[in-house]
Symmetry: C2
Subunit: 316 residues, 2 copies
Amino acid sequence: MNIRHLTFRLLQVYVAVVASGTVSEAARRLHLTQPTVSMQLKRLGEAVGEPLLESRQGRLFPTEAGSELYRASREVLGRFDDFDDYLSALRGGERGRFSIALVNTAQYVLPRLLGPHSRAFPEVEVTVHIGNRRQMLTRFERQEDDLYVFSHPPSLAHARAGRFLRNPLVAVAPRGHPLAARERIDMSELLGERMLLREPGSATRMLFESWLQEQGLTLGPTLQMASNEAIRVGVASGLGLAVLSEHVLPPEHPDIVILPVVGLPIESHWQFIVRSDRRLSHAAHGFLRFAAGHLHTCVEPRFLSNELDGLLSKLN
Amino acid sequence: MNIRHLTFRLLQVYVAVVASGTVSEAARRLHLTQPTVSMQLKRLGEAVGEPLLESRQGRLFPTEAGSELYRASREVLGRFDDFDDYLSALRGGERGRFSIALVNTAQYVLPRLLGPHSRAFPEVEVTVHIGNRRQMLTRFERQEDDLYVFSHPPSLAHARAGRFLRNPLVAVAPRGHPLAARERIDMSELLGERMLLREPGSATRMLFESWLQEQGLTLGPTLQMASNEAIRVGVASGLGLAVLSEHVLPPEHPDIVILPVVGLPIESHWQFIVRSDRRLSHAAHGFLRFAAGHLHTCVEPRFLSNELDGLLSKLN
DNA sequence: ATGTTATATAGATATTTATCTATAGGAAGC
DNA sequence: GCTTCCTATAGATAAATATCTATATAACAT
């Protein structure tokens, strides 16, 4: 059998003929003329190299080889129907996979979106990468992920961004700290205290430092810890003060207080970033749609800042 | 996805590309040029309506949709490989079906061939029809079977024939019959006896009657029985005499003797008949080959008369 | 026998396909 | 930055395919 000239169309026609038992009827069903179907059958028979049909009592019946071809054709066409279904699911964002890269701090919030999404779309596989801003920038350069979450986007030359959440940075001190009782504090008053800082490359540190620079201030003694958690616990235990994303604090934080420093909180927004030079996977697109629609049910209203519809409209 | 323009060839090319990871390498393997393969990929991608491959680290990797297409393609191509195997088996006569029509008398012998054949080719389904000559002629006219066994072929206009077995007709009497002791009997001496005859339409009867006519003889009293078995038992019980195929007698037949009538046995030969205006099924062809090769191990040498090679050569 | 219906063949044509060579564009390696 | 290997595009062409209309042939039913 010569498979080279075998077309799916040919199999469709053949199946129609076997199913209807006559060439003419099959032609009607396929919206073709009878000679067309006859020709196709002839070609198919030649490709197979074996008679496929024989007429008895005015109907066409498949020969031995013809029956097997019919079976094979049905299976094969069915397989491609399945493939078609698979494609629709992919396109609808109901299945597939995407990967998302988060700066550390965002990991306190993103699960609130990812959880409901994966419950709604259990067939979608999500890979989450977490690291500090610098590491995420590298991933972005290398185009390693479908989605990125930054508070300050990288150069937007190859990217589109959409804000979705406020990310205020606040100054924190241990409960009972002398400044904790004050109603209004000037940042300069904190500079004598030891400050706990994230590592260079962290977005939180970058934001804090550029804010300090704007204010013309310089830090006193510091201690560097490459983890928000470590810093939070450090502050609680009196190791020093810190400027942290408010999201890092648990809902109840009896051992930590937010200091009413003038000029704080430093306002920033997390945003979803997608590369504009890379086709966004259907699954990632589906997640963005999901986020746009469900964000308000997943996060506290005071952090809400949903500009994802704008991003989505740019993606279509 | 548009299945209309999907070719098996296209899938083969696609599979080669995914398997080798580069277009150029696939082109080499397929003995095509690289642009050809690129074009095919492009067409395939358009038919599917979704990007199929993406290049990372200098190799091409299938996308989500591409992976599924790869799976589907492998399955589908595999299914048609199986179909190909099926075809070879059909063509080799190793599987399939055929039907064979036998005149009554041949049923004593044909199982000796059909048994070993079906042991050698268990996947071949055989249908056997048995009846008298007239009934078999009707089946022949209607082209109802692949093979026919006659002693005298019908008009050979639409048929090819090949002898394979002697079928001598002998006169039989019950042991102890007055003529049973004689060394030489003239047929005319039997005419007073009651003769047991098969029904009109039987080949045995036809042969016997035309032989009688040649000899210018006319039968005396007769009794008609539409079965060789009934006649054999009738003769054994003294109901009369008969002229029967020697094959009808069991190897040991203590209650029946063959009379040495001058001019007997009437020599005839069974032959396989195939219609020349109808394609012989591979399975039937395979059976004829089997018969040609194994006949000598299946029947007693004295009956052997194998001219099937001549028939086979005419069929190729 | 004689219409009727189904199938096959012939002739025609626009479209598509397979395939090449030549060349341009890109990415990876040194 | 240059070279090399890979891929994509363009241009060209012979072949094949899909499809039609018109007609011949075969099979069936009355």
